[in-house]
């Protein structure tokens, strides 16, 4: 999008240059003129002009105007310091203080309070009001995480606008009217919604305070440390509030290309995990069945010895919170020092790249090529492209759970610009409400759906599906605007996606693909070589086993050692508990972990892991943006930087990396990943850089990486496994057979270690639930809250029934990541039997 032309206006006699159409309050900043505001917050959408703090005089307009809502024009003459303006602004401060308590000394906001600052700068300095102020019960919990003090509220409406117009949860509302107005919820219920913590930061007074931060620090006690949250793929930019080397709070660090300045509650309150007293802070070695503390030298030697012995019978599992440096060094050890091709970072394999084991029918070389094709810069969309695209397709994922901040971004596109949204998922998505078209395919049939969609979009080599699948695909295709669509997608099966991308001309500006990986740094790990099918830079390597292949091989004894880097496969990977058995058979399990968990219980050597708050390194955002992790707090106890530990381990195994610092590690990556070539911490800077926008990306991928241009991936690979649409298949509709439910699984936002490890979030920990359509529930004689057993092929999961109107009849959904075997039931037809009455 071209930048708007710049214009010149006169503010208090000084010429100021600003972009045409900018709001005066922002334009004035270019001339170092500060115009005070309360309600103005551009992140919340259109200005509302409610607080009236920002009134200024504009030549030619008799009435004072609100600078927050006045777009600047060339030649505009503005006065912000005249008597009239000063009187009006001072009057607004006086009005606000008529009811605002002067309890600054005991208010958490004191010292970082916009009302304090504005009252000092623009207020009358004394009060003429002698009448009683309004009273409320205070402070009361608005949610388990937020306290509300309604007496301090100045009714700027930022928080309720957030609830209506950003998160769109609409739980937080204004109640009553006029000067009796207050902020509240229906029937005094708690306000519990995944983004609600943002209202604390939005509040310009001490009316909304964080329960976890209350009375912990004053602004002069604290330091800010900027880094990136790696609790999910959103990779939001954050500021850690650090006092006495402890994190006390997390705030947003606005990055319009990543997060728009919002955080989810996981990112906001999950810092407590890093401060947990339960952390492993020293290396541990198993002796006599027990893990005991050991020195680093001893632990490294023990690990090296075990790995040396296993040699090529070693596999590495790299968890999603690992940095690029961790992942790169881990795969380098496994590939180069040990000669093993078995490196994996994807909990459920995919996308569309069946490895030797599961995709034996296709040419393995192609699988890598498919990935390269999907990663090509010309098909990549940036997060900001969501602000431009005329249509958005959400495919196979619910961003609220998989990449929460994108949920807000997509809502914004629909709400503010009227972008057309289409949602095609197996499980109902929270975005359905704003979608122009939605389609539901049967659990696990995303590949069939995408192929049908490709056909509807006119991609060569795809046949149009019959029946409902064809009709659904046609509707979705009809909502998508060629050349101006962003597809946000995830899933194990991407066949057909490149066909869709070509048919939709996603190579054009402002269009493209954003893949939501399973792990926070899933994209970075893939690009630095943590895949069984591709090495650093998606290079051609000897093919290794994928996750389930590794598990089976460990179980069978053909693999002997497992290196788990920030990974707990028992919790996070398909198969779940089956991993426990597999790891139990391994001769050596080396786990890098912050906590003792199910996987460390199988470990022979444990290295303490860094939290993201301590880490130095880089991660790659799903849209290709490299971002820097910067240490905000020192490492606790004996915890060491993981790049350093892995470099030492490599050296002990004969792989000299020469890495002596985090920048060295990045340089080593850049030397192997052609599209990261030459990148440095300095270039990445505070807000990151998309590698697709760097010169190095121009030469990648090379033609021999992707093969001929007219190659049609969907036709090349024979459909593998159960996700294939069979000839004459109704197209992956849910079976409409009595008594049969096909199960899908999803990773709930809160089904994560951070929920259990952060006291503030613990109340959100989900219990296993089976979501059913009302019709199926009735047919099975089940009601909400009933306990059931969900069984297939000897696997059984206990769950509580939850009825949802938008679940497709014939489908049922379970939550992954709760430590049970739910993920093993994905795509299976199950039997359901009652195990108890509702609580």
């Amino acid at each position: 999008m071209p930048d708007p032309p710049r214009i010149t206006l006169l503010v208090d006699g000084v010429e100021v240059e600003a972009p045409h159409g900018a709001m005066l309050v922002d334009a004035a900043k270019h001339g170092d003129v500060e115009i005070p505001v309360f309600c103005y917050e551009p992140k919340l959408g259109h200005p509302v002009g409610a607080c009236r703090m920002c009134v200024v005089e504009i030549e030619g307009i008799p009435k004072l105007q609100t600078a927050c809502s006045t777009p600047v024009r060339d030649g505009m003459v503005v006065y912000t310091q005249t008597e009239r303006v000063k009187e009006a602004q001072s009057a607004v401060v006086e009005f606000l203080l008529v009811n605002h308590p002067l309890d600054c000394p005991v208010c958490d906001k004191g010292g970082e309070c916009p009302l304090q600052d504005v009252a000092m700068g623009w207020g009358p300095g004394r009060s003429r009001s002698v009448d009683p102020k309004r009273h409320f019960q205070k402070p009361i919990p608005l949610s388990p995480l937020i306290k509300i003090d309604r007496e301090r509220c100045i009714l700027c409406y930022r928080c309720v606008r957030f609830s209506q117009e950003v998160a769109e949860d609409e739980q937080l509302q204004l109640l009553e009217r006029g000067s009796s107005t207050f902020v509240g919820t229906f029937d005094n219920r708690p306000y519990i919604a995944p983004f609600h913590g943002n209202i604390i930061e939005l509040c310009p007074v001490g009316a909304l305070t964080s329960d976890a931060y209350r009375f912990r620090a004053r602004p002069w006690d604290i330091e800010d440390a900027g880094t990136v949250c790696t609790l999910c793929p959103s990779q939001c930019n954050i500021k850690l509030t650090v006092r006495d080397e402890r994190i006390e709070r997390v705030l947003a660090r606005d990055n319009v290309d990543v997060d728009d300045g919002w955080l989810c509650d996981k990112g906001r309150f999950g810092y407590q995990m890093a401060e947990s007293g339960q952390r492993i802070t020293e290396p541990l070695i198993r002796a006599g069945g027990e893990l005991r503390p050991a020195g680093w030298a001893e632990a490294l030697e023990a690990a090296a010895a075990g790995l040396r012995e296993a040699g090529e019978r070693t596999a590495a599992i790299v968890g999603g919170s690992s940095s690029n440096e961790d992942g790169y060094l881990a795969q380098r050890i496994v590939r180069k020092a040990l000669g093993s091709p078995h490196v994996e970072s994807r909990p459920s394999g995919g996308p569309g790249v069946e490895s030797r084991r599961t995709g034996g029918r296709g040419p393995a070389g192609f699988l890598r090529q498919g990935l390269v094709e999907l990663s090509a810069p010309r098909l990549a969309a940036s997060v900001s492209d969501l602000d431009r695209a005329e249509s958005i397709l959400v495919l196979g994922t619910d961003p609220l759970h998989s990449m929460p901040i994108l949920d807000l971004r997509i809502r914004k596109a629909v709400r503010l610009r009227g972008a057309r949204l289409a949602v095609a998922t197996d499980r109902p998505s929270v975005l359905d409400g704003g979608a122009e078209e939605t389609a539901r395919y049967a659990p696990g049939f995303v590949g069939g759906f995408v192929s049908a969609l490709a056909a509807e979009l006119g991609a060569a080599g795809y046949e149009r599906a019959r029946g409902e699948l064809g009709a659904d695909a046609e509707r979705i295709a009809g909502a998508l605007k060629p050349g101006s669509t962003v597809i946000v997608w995830a899933g194990p099966d991407a066949r057909g996606l490149v066909g869709c991308a070509r048919a939709l001309r996603l190579e054009e500006d402002g269009a493209g693909l954003i893949e939501v990986p399973e792990g926070a740094n899933g994209r970075g790990l893939r690009e630095v070589g943590c895949l069984p099918v591709a090495g650093p830079g998606l290079s051609d390597v000897e093919q290794g086993l994928d996750a389930s292949g590794i598990r089976d091989a460990l179980e069978a004894g053909s693999l002997e050692a497992a290196l788990l880097v920030n990974a707990d496969p028992i919790r996070d990977f398909a198969g779940g508990p089956a991993w426990g058995e597999a790891l139990g058979k391994a001769k050596l399990v080396l786990a890098v972990s912050m906590f003792e968990d199910a996987s460390t219980r199988q470990a022979d050597v444990v290295f303490p892991a860094e939290s993201y708050a301590e880490k130095e390194g880089t991660v790659t955002h799903p849209d290709g943006r490299l971002q820097r992790l910067r240490p905000g707090t020192p490492h606790p106890g004996g915890v060491r930087p993981m790049w350093e530990v892995l470099a030492e381990l490599g050296a002990l195994l004969g792989e000299e990396t020469g890495v002596e610092s985090a920048p060295d590690a990045l340089a080593a990556i850049a030397s192997e990943v052609p599209f990261y070539a030459g990148i440095s911490h300095e270039e990445i800077g505070g807000t990151g850089i998309r590698w697709q926008e760097r010169a190095a990306a121009r030469y990648w991928p090379r033609v021999d990486d992707v093969g001929a241009r007219d190659e049609v991936p969907g036709r090349e690979v024979e459909p593998a496994g159960r996700t294939a649409p069979e000839p004459g298949d109704t197209g992956g509709r849910a079976e409409d057979v009595d008594g049969v439910i096909r199960v899908g699984t999803y990773r709930d936002l809160w089904a994560a270690e951070v929920t259990d490890r952060s006291p503030a979030l613990r109340f959100l920990a989900p219990r296993q639930a089976l979501e059913l359509a009302p019709r199926d529930a009735a047919r099975l004689g089940l009601g909400s809250g009933h306990e059931v057993e969900v069984r297939s092929n000897g696997t059984s999961v206990r769950a509580r029934v939850s009825i949802h109107e938008r679940v497709k009849p014939g489908s049922g959904f379970l939550i992954e990541g709760l430590g049970d075997r739910a993920a093993s039931l994905r795509g299976e037809l199950v039997e359901i039997s009652k195990a108890g009455e509702p609580e």
Partner: protein, 448 residues
């Protein structure tokens, strides 16, 4: 001087609210001509040429407003503002109650002129019985083919919905009305964008008052020149004026603008009860600065009242006679706006609240003359600084009362030394403050 009845013609004829009687009196002929004979541009020209000014308060040219709507295919809307809630105003209620088809015909013609396929009559929820009448009439009009997807087979479409409010004065403000009609709290919007460009559901929207639209069939039937033969050059046509308070015959009177105000108050409405004099009067609803007895001979017109520092507004006169306590009147006035402030913008929300508290202290004799200065200054801090005019609507009359009757306020406060109990912060018994008596006038009206 008698009334000039155009909208009120045969107002009490039995059955006028039914479509049969209305049609027998020539009703819907203008609409019929509109869809069959008149081009929309010609219609717009006629409305503009007639000089009809909005009767809701702002007095903007109706035809010009309609002409601001962009032409073309976008979905456009017409909203009839029937949220008449200004204290002292009750003309729209009577017009709708007695002659609903006159309005419906006007709405349909105006919608066609503006190219609006959807029209809404936003009627305040309190007018439930009038809304019932309107809904009945709308159903009749649909039945007779005057509304709907294909009016009289012409291909013109106007869907008309009677939308009931639920008790909020602010919804009479046109942008708050739009928010309310969209299912929100009735909060005024920032302007620009103006409704003509971006109004209901984001589409171009024409908003007109009941009385304004009720004029439209007459203009179409008789032409712009005929219409300009009534009233003044700046404000042609008639005006229905609501007169209430301390007068002997409160009610609506249809007049031509420009007649002396005294004629309205004394001549038509009978003036204050025997033996009493006018002390203060609101010439244009309770938001108009009050005038005194000395100003009774002002011509009743937009211009003359504006020159006198007040306004004609919706055309509603409230008369307070010489027995009325002005501080108590000020409190009643302020309380209303405080109650009705939507709370969106600071000066109105806090200013009305603070003003009420200060006036309550005046009434309970806990104030000092300095408080009168603060009251006046707070009004100045409200005026011109709010998001919409509601804040000003309190500040202007209250400010005018403090300025014009300051000695009465001061005298009131001075009595603090005496053992007189005052009126209590409530001001509930506040009518006859000056006489010092707490006995109330008979409920049938103090001056009857």
């Amino acid at each position: 001087m008698p009334e000039t009845r155009m909208l009120y013609r045969r107002v009490d004829e039995p059955g006028l609210a039914s479509i049969e009687t209305y049609r027998r009196r020539g009703g819907y002929r203008s609409l019929t001509r509109t869809v069959k004979e008149i081009e929309p541009e010609e219609l717009l020209t006629t409305l503009q040429d007639s000089g009809l000014r909005g009767r809701g308060g702002a007095g903007f040219s109706m035809g010009k407003k309609a002409s601001f709507l962009p032409r073309g295919d976008t979905d456009k809307f017409l909203c009839c503002n029937a949220d008449e809630s200004e204290p002292g105003a009750f003309k729209d209620r009577e017009l709708m109650q007695k002659n609903p088809h006159q309005l419906i015909e006007g709405v349909a013609i105006a919608a066609i002129a503006a190219g609006a396929g959807w029209a809404f009559i936003f009627i305040r929820g309190e007018y439930a019985e009038v809304a019932d009448i309107l809904e009945g009439a709308v159903a009749e009009a649909y039945g007779a083919g005057f509304l709907g997807a294909d009016i009289l087979g012409s291909g013109q479409r106007v869907e008309l919905v009677v939308h009931r409010g639920a008790g909020a004065y602010i919804c009479g403000e046109e942008t708050a009305l739009l928010d309310s009609l969209e299912g929100k709290r009735g909060n005024p919007r920032l302007k620009p964008p103006f409704p003509a460009i971006q109004g209901l559901y984001g589409g171009p929207t024409l908003i007109n008052n009941v009385e304004t639209l009720s004029n439209v069939p007459h203009i179409v039937a008789n032409g712009a020149d005929w219409f300009k033969g009534f009233g003044t050059e700046q404000s042609p046509g008639t005006k229905v004026v609501s007169v209430s308070g301390c007068v002997q015959r409160p009610g609506n009177y249809e007049i031509e603008l420009g007649i002396p105000s005294r004629e309205l108050i004394y001549g038509l409405a009978g003036g204050p009860p025997e033996g009493r004099e006018v002390k203060a009067w609101f010439p244009g609803g309770s938001s108009a600065p009050v005038l005194t007895a000395a100003e009774l001979d002002l011509p009743y017109s937009f211009e003359a009242l504006a020159d006198a520092g007040s306004m004609l507004g919706s055309g509603s006169i409230i008369v307070a006679d010489d027995q009325v306590s002005i501080p108590a009147l000020a409190l009643r006035t302020a309380r209303f706006y405080h109650h009705e402030s939507c709370g969106k913008c600071t000066p109105c929300r806090e200013g009305t609240n603070w003003t009420v508290k200060m006036l309550e202290r005046v009434l309970s004799r806990e104030a000092t003359p300095m408080d009168l200065d603060i009251i006046a200054s707070v009004q100045d801090n409200i005026i011109g600084h709010c998001l919409c005019v509601l804040g000003d609507s309190m500040a202007m009359p209250v400010s005018s009362m403090v300025k014009k009757f300051r000695p009465e306020f001061e005298e009131y406060i001075r009595r603090v030394a005496s053992d007189s109990p005052g009126l209590g912060s409530d001001g509930a018994a506040g009518l006859h403050a000056l006489t010092g008596t707490s006995s109330l006038a008979p409920a049938s009206g103090p001056h009857a």
